[in-house]
């Protein structure tokens, strides 16, 4: 179990992973050495999995297409969801892979350069796989919010008074 202090530290790193252990120390009151140790431990335990920026590709002009694919699978004896997922996650086109409750089993977030590329991946790579019963492809039209960050960003910041009691 995480202590409250560790939980706060982890949340702070999640918010801004560029902060150095010294900077984190100032803001949390924990020592830089302790923070370095914890980060190393969390990296080894795969609690901290990776550090990467959140890029809004729509603003770069680079063409990218994403699609959400609903997949129904036929789990068989000795070959459950996890085994299927293990195979699927190897495809670099699949950016996220989730086991779902409800009307279908797996949700896949796929990225490609064009709609054609995504469609071909589904038709040629995904659908023919053993155990896959059916797929339904939903193309993403626009990301409004991703990983908790609002991407629209053009709203005016409300102004506070410069000095108030």
């Amino acid at each position: 179990m995480l202590t409250t202090e560790d939980c706060k530290l982890l949340k702070l790193i999640q918010e801004d992973c560029r902060l150095t252990p010294e900077e984190l120390s100032i803001q949390t009151g924990l020592t830089p050495d302790y923070i370095r140790e914890q980060i190393k431990k969390w990296e080894e335990e795969k609690v901290i999995v990776d550090y990467r920026p959140l890029i809004n590709w729509a603003r770069t002009g680079v063409e990218k297409v994403s699609a959400l694919i609903e997949v129904k699978v036929l789990p068989q004896r000795g070959y459950g969801f996890d085994k299927i997922a293990k195979r699927l996650q190897k495809f670099p086109e699949i950016k996220s892979l989730l086991l779902m409750s409800g009307g279908f089993d797996l949700a896949l977030l796929i990225e490609g350069k064009t709609m054609q590329e995504v469609a071909l991946f589904v038709a040629e790579k995904l659908a023919p796989l053993e155990h896959i019963q059916s797929t339904a492809t939903h193309f993403v039209l626009r990301y409004y919010k991703q990983d908790g960050v609002e991407l629209m960003g053009e709203e005016e910041t409300p102004q506070r008074l410069v000095i108030s009691p």
């Binding site: 100032i26 000095i163 108030s164």
Partner: protein, 387 residues
Amino acid sequence: MNNYLASHVANLPPSGIRKFFDLVATMKDVISLGVGEPDFVTPWTVRESGIFSLEQGQTMYTSNAGLFELREELSRHLATSMGVTYNPLDQILITSGASEAVDLVMRAVLAPGDIVLVPDPSYVSYAPCAILAGASVNYIPTHAKEDFRLRVEDLAKVYSPKAKLLVLSYPNNPTGAIMTREDLLPIADFVTKHDLLVLADDIYSDLTYAGKHTSFASLPGMQDRTLFVSGFSKSYAMTGWRIGYVAGHKDLVAGMTKIHQYTMLCAPITGQFAALEALQSASEAKAEMVEAYDRRRRLMVHGFREMGLDCFEPLGAFYVFPNISKTGLSSEDFAEELLKEEKVAVVPGTAFGPSGEGHIRCSYAYSTEQLQEALKRIAHFVKLRIS
């Protein structure tokens, strides 16, 4: 037309903050650490419920005391958070911000000749409200060496038999000081011995960084002597909604309700619906804001100490109150020169009372990036003046 003003209004000194505000307003690209309100926007769930109430056509007056559902929810909230039970029927009054509640307390209990005891430094409106109610003020100095806590010895020194009301405003604006239960107990004895009433302005009570706040009203025998004032502005980032409240003995609340009904009628209804939602569903959002303030608080204290200035660790509100006397400047000169040279606005400690001399109030209700930039500029300014 000044001669038409009533003399007690004409003689009322303008807020020390106002003078500084006018100066800042003439300058561009200023980083201000002078704001006494959260930088967060009201949590979305709270805003959404305000919008929904408007969609439902909830645009009327409420009862003078405020929406009964809100008073009921507040009563439950106060019972859980501070262990004091107030009857929502006649012991809680919803006001237009805690500011109105402070004014109502003063006007309901004070008469000409009465004296109000006010810790110094503290928020700017206690003394003017007391004076407008016909009373006068004795300041109780508090000191940096005691982390700006109110000491009963200092209270006793300024006590007068005409004193009727003691103001307790902890966590404190501008110092960020808190009072623990142990600090409050001797004050409670003093209050009982001298038959005083207490205005407990607990507006920052949710913003504490070393354990839970103890409300004066929760001490043995103190509930009926205490007029408990608080609001939604600081805890839930709802300053513009103007919703506060006062809770206390029903006779005193009835007196305040009379003034409120003739002057304000009721607090804004949209804000009352939003406040209800805040109590019901925004505790997590509140906790996240408190966590963010706590991180910035450490950043600020560290920053000022690195500069070689004395800065006691504030454990409440969102202000640091560093001692700048090493620079050889007065609070006002420091603030004015800092503004002109480095374009950083801070508030001179003296704006909050004479004991604020030698200090500046810096709010940390700003983003970490803004705080870091401001600290950098202040450090440059200070370095040129201390060696």
